[in-house]
């Protein structure tokens, strides 16, 4: 069974045509991988479908814009995967 990170990394590689070996848990989706907001919509769509969740992109963006959170909290992949796991757990609870 794939881990959350493996699934997300494969989605990013396929969606954005980024070599899979360049994608690590420490990668920042924006700063390191160069993913822009439009590409991230495609990634969010694929993640939502793959895990049966709804990434709260709007509230994350709002928190970052208001200085209440950093982009690292949501867009470094290990942190993103942790959020995904939380959403999956919340769905199952």
């Amino acid at each position: 069974m794939s881990t959350t990170f493996e699934t997300v990394a494969n989605i990013i590689a396929e969606t954005c045509d980024i070599p899979r070996e360049n994608i690590t848990p420490e990668s920042h989706a924006i700063d390191d991988l160069g993913i822009d907001s439009l590409d991230f919509l495609d990634i969010a769509f694929a993640i939502d479908k793959a895990f049966g969740i709804k990434l709260p992109l709007e509230s994350w963006t709002q928190e970052v814009n208001e200085g209440k959170a950093t982009t690292e909290q949501y867009f470094v992949l290990k942190n993103l995967c942790a959020r995904i796991d939380e959403l999956i757990a919340a769905k199952s609870a």
Binding site: L41, D42, F45, K49, K54, L57, E58, S59
Partner: protein, 168 residues
């Protein structure tokens, strides 16, 4: 259609809120300055306008599902196909289906048919956000009325919340 005003949808044929689908019927005008250039002696509805018809049908479906609380802007068109020519006078039946309602975006599938024959199809991503201007919301509501969008409870809710934008 009024091509010069980007009014692409003529009328709603069917809205299914449970299935999250919308069918629209749209007649290509026989006369338009667009056909003077596209193309002389061989008038065709430009392909980008076929994408626009699909995008507007998707948008009107999404707005209705969100009770006109949020505006939808075209973000991307994937797997777009223009399968055959569409000429003045033809009626394009567009079918739109909401595939996924995400946070701040939605993914829909759309297709257009002329006399039952598939002429175009695409996966459409719309970005959603609060209306940037109240007059835009008013314009979309008047458009919904013009094309005969079944409003049901949304009419009452919209009237009650006129000018009070909320988040879905």
């Amino acid at each position: 259609m009024r091509l010069e005003y980007f009014q692409m949808i003529d009328k709603v044929v069917e809205l299914d809120l449970e299935a999250r689908t919308l069918k629209t019927a749209n007649t290509v005008p026989c006369e338009s300055p667009i056909f003077e250039g596209h193309f002389p002696g061989h008038p065709l509805l430009p392909g980008v306008l076929l994408f626009e018809i699909m995008a507007q049908s998707c948008g009107m479906l999404l707005l209705r599902l969100h009770n006109y609380d949020r505006m939808a802007f075209l973000a991307s068109v994937d797997k777009g196909k223009l399968r055959t020519f569409v000429v003045p006078g033809q009626v394009i039946d567009v079918f739109a289906r909401l595939e996924h309602d995400g946070s701040g975006y939605a993914r829909l599938k759309a297709e257009g048919r002329v006399e039952g024959k598939l002429v175009c199809n695409a996966d459409v991503t719309l970005k959603t956000m609060p209306f940037p201007a109240p007059e835009l919301r008013g314009y979309l509501l008047s458009t919904a009325e013009r094309i005969g969008m079944p409003m049901g409870d949304a009419v009452i809710n919209v009237a009650e919340r006129a000018g009070n934008l909320t988040h879905v």
